[in-house]
Symmetry: C2
C-alpha cells in the first residue's frame, strides 16, 4: 500500500475497495466452491451452519458497538436498521431467527447452537477479532470493515441456487435467511460506501479504510479455513462438534 500523502479521488478509493473484494473476498475460498457446487457432505453443511451461527449472532453486538460511536442521529437511524434486521422487530423475526431455522432443519437442538459450545476456536477467534476491531478502532474503520457486504449479493445468489440444486436437505424455507439479505446488504453497503467516501479525506484515512476492509476479508476467510481443516480435512480440534453427535436427522419438509 502506498504511503504517498496525495489522497485518492472518491472513485479511485471505491475502485481500490472493489479490487479487495475481487482478490480477497471469501467467494474465492475453496470451501465455498465446494459448498455451492454440491460437493459438501451433509455433515460439512451442518458444520458450516453451526459455526456461522456465531458470526450471525455477533453481528448485532458488533453493530451496537458501532452505533455507540456514531455522533449523528440520522446516521444512527440508518445503522440501527442493521440491528433490526438481525434481531427482528418481534419474537420469531429477524436474521438470527432465520439462521436458527436453518440449524433446526439440519437437526441441531437450538440450545446447543445458541450455547456455541461446539464451534471451532478458529471461528470464535475470528469473530471476536471482528467485534474487537469495531470496538477499538475509529468509527471510519469500523464502518469500512462492514464493506464486505458490497460483494455479498453475488455470493448469496450463487449459494442459494447452488444449494437448492444440489442438496435435498435444504429448501427455500430453510434458506430463508438468504432471501432477505441481498436487499438489506445493498442498502447497508450503499450507506457505508457513501460514508467512507465522504469521511476518508486524507490519504492516511483512506489507507485505514483499505486496511479495515482487508482485515474483514481475512475474518471471513479464516472462518472457512478453520471449517475446511476440521470437517473436510477431518482434523477436528479438541472440544469442537463431532459429526454424528448432538443432532437428529430431520425429515425434509
Amino acid at each position: 500500500m502506498s504511503i504517498a500523502a496525495q489522497p485518492l479521488t472518491s472513485d479511485e478509493l471505491e475502485a481500490r475497495l472493489r479490487q479487495i473484494g475481487a482478490e480477497r473476498y471469501h467467494h474465492l475460498h475453496r470451501f465455498h466452491r465446494r459448498l455451492h457446487t454440491g460437493q459438501c457432505t451433509y455433515e460439512e453443511v451442518q458444520a458450516w451452519a453451526l459455526n456461522r451461527y456465531y458470526y450471525q449472532a455477533m453481528i448485532p453486538i458488533k453493530d451496537a458497538t458501532i452505533l455507540a460511536k456514531i455522533p449523528d442521529p440520522e446516521d444512527r437511524r440508518q445503522w440501527r436498521k442493521r440491528i433490526e434486521d438481525h434481531d427482528g422487530l418481534r419474537e420469531g423475526d429477524g436474521g438470527i431467527e432465520r439462521w436458527l431455522k436453518l440449524t433446526d432443519s439440519l437437526g441441531f437442538p437450538r440450545d446447543y447452537v445458541i450455547s456455541t459450545h461446539g464451534i471451532l476456536p478458529g471461528t470464535r477467534f475470528a469473530v471476536e477479532a471482528y467485534t474487537e476491531f469495531c470496538r477499538s478502532r475509529s468509527l471510519l474503520q469500523a464502518v469500512a470493515s462492514s464493506l464486505t457486504e458490497l460483494f455479498s449479493p453475488t455470493i448469496i445468489s450463487e449459494r442459494v441456487a447452488g444449494m437448492l440444486a444440489h442438496y435435498d436437505f435444504v429448501n427455500k424455507e430453510t434458506l430463508a435467511y438468504f432471501s432477505q439479505r441481498p436487499v438489506q446488504a445493498k442498502r447497508d453497503s450503499d450507506f457505508a460506501l457513501d460514508y467512507v467516501k465522504k469521511h476518508a479525506a486524507t490519504r492516511a484515512e483512506q489507507n485505514s479504510v483499505i486496511a479495515a476492509l482487508e482485515f474483514k476479508t481475512s475474518v471471513l476467510w479464516a472462518q472457512l479455513d478453520a471449517l475446511w481443516s476440521a470437517y473436510v480435512d477431518g482434523a477436528i480440534p479438541p472440544g469442537a462438534w463431532v459429526p454424528g453427535t448432538v443432532t437428529a436427522r430431520v425429515q425434509a419438509a
Copy 2:
C-alpha cells in the same frame, strides 16, 4: 464440566488441570508430530517460526496486562520475571531476541518478521484472543490461562532433540530460545499453579480456572491448525507469506 457447588480439593483441581494438558495440549497436534519427526519441509519450518514470532512478541504485552491486575507487590515481582525473560535485561538479550535469531537463521529479514505483515490471520486472531482474554477476564482466569507452561518442558525437549536430529538447517545456537525455556517455564508454572490452587476457592472459581486453561489450549491448537492448512495443505490465505519470497537462504553456521 460439573456445576455442582462442592469445591474440588486442591489435588483434584490440579489433577483436572493436568488432564486438560494430557487431552488438549498442542503436543498432540499433527503439525508438532510432523515438526518433531523431521517430516516438515524447510518452508514449513520457516512458516512455523515466522508465525510463532507473533505469539512470542505478544507474551510480554499479555504479561504486562496481567501485571497491571495484580494487587500484591511480591506477586508482581514474581510475574515481572516473565517480562524480563522475554524482553531481556539488556539489548540483545531475552526470548524475543532469541526467537529472532531463529528467524534470522531461516533467512527472514528482521523488519519483515517484526512487522508481522506475513503472518496468518488465524495466528493473529488466536494470539489477540489470548491477550484480550487476559485483559477482560479476572486475574484468576488470566493467571490460569498461563498454565499450559505446566506441559511445555516435555514438548520442548522433544522438539529440540527432534529438530537437531532431523534438520540440517537448525543447530543448538539457532534453537537457543528453547534452551532457556524449561527452567523459566517450571518456575512460572509452579507459581501460577500455586496461585490458582490458593485463590480458586469456590467451585465456580475452579470452573473458571478450568475453562481458562481449556481456552488457552485452543489458542495454541488453532495456531497450528492455521499453519497446517496454509503450508502443509497449501491453502495460503490472501496476503500471508508465500514460501520462496522475502527470504534468503542462510549458510548453515
